[in-house]
């Protein structure tokens, strides 16, 4: 199993995320989900990929596959500026708290989500949030879109050293989801 970029997140357990380096199988997995959800964190506001904020890539993904958004921290403001109204403004621990309840109605009232994508949450907090879902939410699967490997997700992108590779994956995903 690969190591996370930040060693404080090292896995101490036997179940770790599958590293996904290709957009195609990832797009397939996402499309198969009945009620996906995209959780966006504040790092997506600060991190840029070749001059373009990460959050804009996340918005592209959400649009491409019509995925509702949960805007954690203070990301709502920027999303509104980008023309997106998030379906939920629960903070990361609040949305995870709800997601782990299989009876929850979800952000659209249609039922709990079965596939949750994460992007823009700092790695230590993100990995902890994923731990909760790993142990307590067998009814859903998770994936991460950041340029770091998150051991506690089901599917995770690898640790990208080169921005271009990350960009390519994200754009490939958008294309595959349309």
């Amino acid at each position: 199993m690969p190591h996370p970029q930040h060693l404080v997140n090292i896995l101490t357990g036997i179940k770790g995320a599958m590293e996904m380096k290709d957009a195609t199988p990832l797009a397939k997995i996402i499309k198969k989900a009945e009620r996906p959800l995209l959780v966006i964190g504040p790092r997506a506001l600060e991190v840029e990929i070749e001059g373009r904020p990460f959050i804009e890539y996340l918005v592209d993904i959400a649009k491409a596959a019509n995925i509702p958004i949960c805007a954690t921290a203070h990301t709502k403001k920027k999303l509104l500026e980008l023309g997106m109204t998030p379906e939920s403004t629960y903070d990361v621990v609040e949305i995870v708290n709800a997601l782990k309840d299989a009876e929850w109605k979800g952000v659209k009232g249609e039922g709990c989500h079965d596939f949750v994508l994460f992007g823009g949450i700092r790695t230590d907090l993100g990995n902890q949030a994923l731990s909760t879902l790993k142990h307590f939410a067998p009814h859903l699967k998770t994936m991460t879109l950041c340029k770091y490997y998150y051991p506690n997700a089901n599917f995770s992108l690898p640790n990208y050293k080169k921005e271009e590779e990350w960009k390519a994956l994200l754009e490939g995903l958008v294309a595959g989801l349309k």
Partner: protein, 765 residues
């Protein structure tokens, strides 16, 4: 143990014949005596677990994988295991304070005798609200404080025992034990701080305590420098006394890191505050200290190695941290000093008076001998940074996820700004320098980007005065004071060290009462505004609207729970004595106070926060606190918010999630501020009070999120709750949400919604 003999034993200990208040239901509660309260609390604020490790390695059956529904060899599951670790952490935290309390009380009894009276000045009559409420004892002497600690210590044995293999298996019951021991943490902290205040004559009954110098730049490096690190003022007060007796107070610098800085400046306002825990390694490596006197808690465990590298000498002075050193408490002073001066030998001295003498005499001799390097400048830093090979090892090991490597690269290219940011956000662990295979002296580079400015910190003032509590009663009721915010805890901050000063400024200018303790109290002062003022110079130190109060050190945190208890007692006239359940219920439902532990790191922080939770005070935590493994979250509007109306004795579904959570992690300061404002809302708010609280909630939400709060309709009971500044748009919003008016209660209580001995009448008096 319930029984007649036990009851008699307790009545003897708490002096039942002393009739200052009727004795409540739970004098000196045992582990399970308040269990029903805990279970009721956790019904609404269910434990939320984020397992930090999927394994248990505590016994020889392990390692056991507990992923998902797997059970360990003893049968434990992942939730109970997290509860178990939380309980252990709270025990460690509580015992740190209990140990400190026991030590300091014994030390002061040696000096002043058991009967040394408790007198906290003429503005503080309710001297120990925690001890009064939890034990039912009104302490009068040092002996009484010792009694309180002994009771707590006995409870500790029972709680630690429950973490043994094959003991507790239920997560909620582990939480109950954690809540119990954490409540007792506040008892021990109170005993410690009250003992210190009376024993060392720290300031009390005064709001306008002096401002002292803060910052590594405030230290006169031409003088001999003694650094005190840790928490226990027994060491540092002896040093100050020795200097005063020898007329050397102006000739030797005494500087403190961590809580001992706050204690030392309460004893002498000539002492300096270097800064919080996050600056410990930076300061030690800068070699500014000639002698370092270390006592207990939060000190580098490799301090002696670090000191040797820069020619500083260490005196360890606590049995909690002997550091593998030879104990020389009984050796002749000259001999010890000689070994320190000539050979740089560190030593262990458990006699504080002796340690003080040795420290001063050694410092006087060492200082002229040492060639202290000046802090390096930017030019030198750029040169040294060129050794960086961009391998990325430092970035990988940083616990605060900082881009250390890229910043050093930029520095090598001549741009110091990114590295300055790294320093501002650095939590001071040293892993980066350790991991670097190319010997880049990262902590030395920091000297070039650190600010060598002198800031100001206000001396800790101890308990909130009874008169202050009475004075803020009316404004809190009528709403001109929207809440009490307590910024506490360690310096493991996610971002700039001055995010916390920003939060204090925001809430102080909005007329909240802001109190601070510990490393947070120091950190907030490390920022100057446009006019060159630190936050302590900008706002007064009164416990009143717009006041910024430094309560004191870690053990002073008990005065925060104490203040909440005093509001119930002094303002609402509820008896405290052995009445924990009623008081906690009161605080939860009717006192708009919120704790903020933005950089919580230690086990003590965990027990302090958990102790606040049992009393009904919610806490907002920074992102690192996700690693504590456990939060107390409600399901927001989907939870059950039924309470008993104490006036009509009926159950009422208020539909109002207030306070929404008891312990929550937020990632950004913007989210934290919005959450803090929301968590000050209580069901018994008067209409003017609710208007003002909502005004701030809406205003902050709009500022950071751009819209009205999405959950605003849950907090508007009638139209009179709507702040006038937003009336029209809120009315429209409410209409869109299909909002209907909700009940307004003046006496909401949880008593009566669960199985308890306490009658509903007790909440009214």
């Amino acid at each position: 143990m319930k029984g007649k003999r036990k009851k008699e034993e307790k009545e003897k200990i708490i002096r039942a014949e002393d009739e200052w208040e009727p004795i409540g239901h739970t004098p000196m509660p045992h582990v399970t005596d308040l269990r029903n309260w805990d279970r009721r609390l956790l019904e609404t604020y269910k434990p939320f677990y984020a397992p930090f490790c999927d394994l248990c390695c505590l016994c020889t059956y392990g390692k056991c994988d507990l992923t998902g529904t797997n059970r360990g060899a003893c049968g434990i599951d992942i939730s109970a295991q997290q509860g178990r670790i939380v309980t252990l952490a709270c025990c460690m935290g509580m015992s740190a304070h209990a140990g400190h309390a026991a030590h300091i009380i014994d030390y002061l009894i040696e000096k002043h005798g058991e009967d040394y009276p408790i007198d906290l000045g003429d503005q503080v009559n309710v001297e120990c609200p925690n001890i009064r409420t939890v034990l039912g004892l009104k302490p009068k002497t040092l002996r009484d404080l010792k009694t309180a600690v002994q009771y707590a210590a006995e409870q500790l044995v029972h709680v630690v025992s429950s973490t043994h293999t094959g003991q507790e298996g239920d997560a909620v019951d582990y939480e109950s034990k954690a809540l119990h021991i954490s409540m007792l943490d506040h008892v021990c902290m109170e005993a410690a701080d009250v003992a210190q205040i009376i024993g060392f004559k720290f300031p009390t009954s005064v709001a306008d305590t002096p401002l002292v110098d803060m910052g590594w730049g405030s230290i006169d490096r031409k003088k001999p420098v003694i650094l005190v690190v840790g928490h226990n003022p027994a060491s540092s007060s002896e040093i100050i006394d020795y200097l005063r007796n020898k007329g050397l107070e102006d000739k030797v610098e005494v500087a403190g890191i961590c809580c001992t800085a706050l204690e030392t400046t309460r004893y002498s306002n000539k002492a300096k505050v270097v800064g919080p825990l996050s600056r410990q390694l930076f300061f030690v490596r800068a070699g500014i200290a000639d002698v370092i006197v270390a006592d207990e808690q939060c000190i580098r465990t490799d301090l002696t190695d670090e000191a040797s590298k820069v020619g500083s000498v260490v005196i360890a002075s606590s049995d909690k941290a002997c550091r593998g050193l030879e104990e020389v408490s009984d050796k002749p002073t000259d001999e010890v000093v000689k070994a320190m001066v000539d050979k740089g030998e560190h030593c262990l001295i458990l006699d504080h008076e002796k340690a003080a003498e040795v420290a001063v005499e050694a410092a006087l001799k060492i200082a002229p001998k040492r060639k202290k390097e000046e802090p390096i400048d930017e030019k030198k830093a750029i040169e040294l940074a060129k050794a960086c090979a961009a391998c990325g090892s430092c970035t990988q090991v940083c616990p605060n996820l900082l881009p250390v490597g890229p910043a050093i690269q930029k520095l090598a290219e001549g741009d110091a700004e990114p590295f300055k940011q790294v320093f501002e956000n650095c939590i001071g662990c040293g892993k980066c320098e350790e991991a670097c295979p190319h010997g880049v002296p990262i902590f030395k580079l920091m000297q070039a980007v650190a600010s060598w400015d002198t800031w100001k910190c206000r001396v800790g003032r101890g308990p909130v005065m009874d008169t202050e509590i009475r004075k803020v009663g009316a404004p809190i009721v009528l709403g001109t004071i929207p809440g009490v915010i307590a910024l506490v805890g360690c310096s493991n901050f996610p971002n700039e060290i001055d995010e916390i000063a920003e939060m204090v400024d925001e809430f102080a200018r909005r007329k909240y009462i802001v109190v601070l303790t510990g490393c947070s109290a120091m950190t907030v002062g490390m920022r100057k505004d446009k006019e060159g003022k630190t936050i302590y110079e900008k706002y007064p130190g009164d416990f009143d609207a717009g006041g910024v109060v430094n309560i004191g050190s870690c053990v002073s945190n008990a005065h925060i729970t104490g203040a909440a208890m005093k509001i119930a007692n002094i303002f609402a006239n509820l008896p405290l004595r052995a009445n924990y359940e009623v008081i906690a219920d009161y605080v939860l439902n009717r006192v708009g106070a919120v704790g903020v532990a933005w950089g919580a790191m230690s086990q003590k922080a965990a027990s302090i926060a958990t102790g606040c939770n049992r009393l009904g005070i919610p806490v907002v935590l920074g992102p690192h606190s996700a690693k504590y493994r456990r939060l107390y979250l409600s399901r927001k509007e989907e939870g059950d918010w039924t309470v008993m109306d104490g006036r009509k004795k009926e159950l009422v579904d208020t539909e109002e999630p207030s306070p929404e959570h008891l312990a929550i992690v937020t990632e950004s300061k913007e989210r934290a501020m919005v959450m803090i404002a929301k968590l000050c809302i209580r069901k018994n708010d008067t209409q003017p009070g609710r208007q003002i609280k909502l005004n701030h909630y809406i205003d902050l939400y709009k500022k950071f999120f751009g819209t009205l709060p999405d959950d605003l309709h849950h907090f508007v009971r009638t139209e009179r709750d709507i702040p006038m500044f937003f009336k029209k748009e809120v009315k429209q919003f409410l209409q869109e949400k299909g909002w209907k008016p909700k009940p307004v209660l003046s006496l909401p209580t949880l008593i009566g919604t669960y199985e308890t001995e306490v009658p509903v009448e007790a909440t009214i008096r």
